[in-house]
């Protein structure tokens, strides 16, 4: 009896480990494949059969990528919007959340109603476009930053975090004569790293990945983002009219496919770099906003 139970457990465990291993492979392999394809000679990749490591190793794809001012510019714009968008977004969100985290705040019912209503209802894309246009934000760098500085979702997460901070911390600072601004910047922000890191990760990733605003709110070539440029190459090669990969005339062996996987690697690497640092925070941070207990 006992033995059969142990056998059953062994079968059960094996099945689970095998399934999880397969899931892990399907999650990892696509990234790995894109990476090796970016180091393989473009014209050689088209022949197929490159599965585990680069068959015809080259750095040519990256050289072409870095020599093209279009890509470099797009990369810089993406970095710039990610850094400034995240910092400004963090600042506004945490300032507003700090105010709202005071339980004795007058009119807080009104404030919260305004926020929750905005969470569930929206005017839709077209009126939003009209508003951006009237504010003169279209076709400017500011359209990447200003409209996305405050999200109701992050606001609620930050509020519930600030409410967990012991009130004594603020009270003692008050007694020492500190104003709200001092308390906020000197005491609240430093102890709020988990929630700030979580929000920074999500805002940063959102900024970095965003392409729709670049496609529809901006016409200027100068302001195109990396994600938008990537969308352009992918859509071009994906569309049936133009399914033959167009070789880059400037450099033999580099195809639109190899350029595409190279740009994908360039856009994934920064995310993977910050991921381990922020990971330990966001599981806790996201829980604050969702399930309790």
């Amino acid at each position: 009896m006992l033995k059969s139970q142990r056998q059953k457990d062994f079968v059960f465990d094996s099945v689970i480990y095998v399934v999880l291993f397969i899931i892990m492979l399907t999650m990892l392999y696509p990234f790995y494949y894109v990476l090796i394809a970016s180091f393989n000679k473009g014209s050689d990749s088209l022949l197929g059969g490159v599965y585990l490591w680069p068959r015809n190793f080259t750095l040519e794809n990256y050289r072409v990528f870095m020599d093209d001012p279009k890509w470099v510019k797009a990369f810089l714009i993406s970095v710039l919007r990610t850094v400034s968008g995240t910092l400004l977004g963090l600042l506004l969100t945490s300032i507003v959340a700090y105010g709202l985290s005071h339980r004795d705040l007058l009119f807080s019912k009104v404030y919260f109603t305004v926020i929750v209503f905005a969470m569930y209802f929206s005017g839709g894309l077209i009126p939003y476009y009209v508003v951006l246009r009237s504010l003169g934000l279209l076709n400017s760098f500011a359209v990447y930053i200003i409209p996305s500085m405050l999200s109701t979702f992050f606001l609620l997460i930050a509020i519930s975090f600030f409410r967990e901070i012991p009130a004594e911390l603020k009270e003692s600072a008050h007694i020492d004569g500190a104003g709200e601004l001092t308390i906020f910047f000197r005491i609240i922000l430093p102890v709020s790293t988990p929630v700030l890191a979580t929000m920074a990760l999500f805002m940063g990733v959102g900024q970095w990945n965003s392409w729709l605003d670049s496609a529809y709110f901006v016409q200027s070539e100068e302001l195109r983002t990396l994600a938008f440029r990537m969308m352009e190459v992918i859509n071009k090669s994906n569309s049936p009219m133009d399914s033959l990969a167009v070789a880059n005339s400037a450099s033999a062996g580099v195809t639109s496919f190899s350029l595409q996987v190279t740009s994908m690697v360039v856009s994934i690497v920064p995310i993977i770099c910050v991921y381990p640092f922020l990971q330990k925070y966001f599981v806790h941070g996201i829980m604050l906003g969702s399930v309790k207990g």
Partner: protein, 327 residues
């Protein structure tokens, strides 16, 4: 200022007002902070809501914001036009099928993954699988589409090359450019991208279950499957209901696996259009590309009314059926 000079007797109107005024003055920095946010929401969330009016008007973009109020009423003309659009049937079918398929496949996936992860005793392996599984959540749809292209396209796709090399098929399968594959492709890539992410919430729910329940069940002779069925699943019930409500409420947008729009827009092309064009991509095209603002606003409005109705009704049903709900 005037209020402060009034005699303060608790209980009288004047006293209360002056009390409130004092509190407000004490909190003035906080109200300034919050006020910033309110102004922001007013501009970027509430002004567009007024823009919904343009669905009932003959709006032209040259009118700017004011045009929303000053242009002529046309009643339900644009709603009528959409319902009689020759693409209407196709759009509604594609939108509903895509959303339903996603609920059917994407909703149970993270629950199953969480249960499996919970049975793993090697903490390092568990953490590793988990870390890997939510990585795709942070990758943009553009990259996911690029990955699909690298794997599935007819000319460079790994899958087709491998299938042909192994002799399973003589010519490449048109995964990306055939209407037959689009739904599978969209649901599959959505599950791939978001399954691990939602597992976080379900694992948190499982970790809230008291270990003594498992010990008791083990003593009573319950096997692993029995423990999952009678302890783990019931313990996750509340969370499952909340996530289901969220899913159904956002079903038209893509449910918990996010953005039907980005998928249909990026994976869609002129050949798979019969299954890939959905209401949102259509509204987007007629609105921003063709400049038919009022028509697109009307289509958007229909969709958001249905979404709001879905949130409230699924929440109501959840409350009735299980006692747990979102709000």
């Amino acid at each position: 200022m005037e209020l402060e000079t009034q005699p303060k007797s608790p209980g009288t109107g004047g006293g209360r007002r002056s009390f409130l005024w004092k509190r407000f003055k004490k909190q003035k920095v906080l109200h300034l902070f919050v006020g910033l946010g309110m102004i922001y929401l007013l501009i970027f969330a509430y002004t567009p809501m007024f823009g919904i009016l343009m669905a009932f008007k003959d709006y032209s973009i040259s009118g700017g914001i004011k045009g929303i109020f000053t242009s002529d009423w046309v009643g339900l003309r644009y709603f009528d036009e959409f319902v009689h659009d020759y693409q209407f049937g196709k759009l509604v079918r594609n939108t509903l099928v895509l959303s339903l398929l996603k609920v059917i496949f994407a909703f149970p996936a993270p629950i199953l993954l969480a249960i499996m992860l919970n049975e793993v005793k090697h903490m390092a392996f568990k953490r590793f699988v988990q870390t890997i599984s939510y990585l795709p959540h942070f990758i943009s749809w553009v990259v996911v589409v690029g990955v699909s292209y690298a794997f599935l396209s007819a000319d460079v796709g790994v899958v087709n090359k491998a299938l042909m090399a192994m002799g399973f098929t003589d010519e490449p399968l048109a995964f990306l450019t055939s209407p037959n594959y689009f739904w599978g492709l969209a649901v599959g890539s959505a599950v791939w991208k978001e399954m691990g992410w939602w597992t976080i919430i379900f694992l948190a729910a499982i970790s809230g279950i008291s270990p003594s329940l498992y010990e008791a069940a083990e003593i009573d002779g319950a096997g692993r499957l029995a423990r999952i069925r009678y302890i783990t699943l019931p313990g996750m019930k509340g969370t499952i209901v909340v996530v289901l409500v969220l899913t159904i409420g956002s079903i038209l947008g893509g449910g918990l696996v996010g953005s039907n729009f980005e998928q249909a827009y990026l994976l869609g092309n002129s050949i798979n259009n019969p299954t890939s064009e959905i209401v949102q991509t259509y509204a987007f095209r007629v609105g921003l590309s063709d400049g038919r603002f009022s028509y697109a606003a009307a289509i958007d409005l229909i969709q958001s009314v249905i979404s709001v109705a879905l949130i409230f009704s699924s929440n109501f049903i959840a409350k009735r059926v299980s006692g747990s709900s979102l709000f």
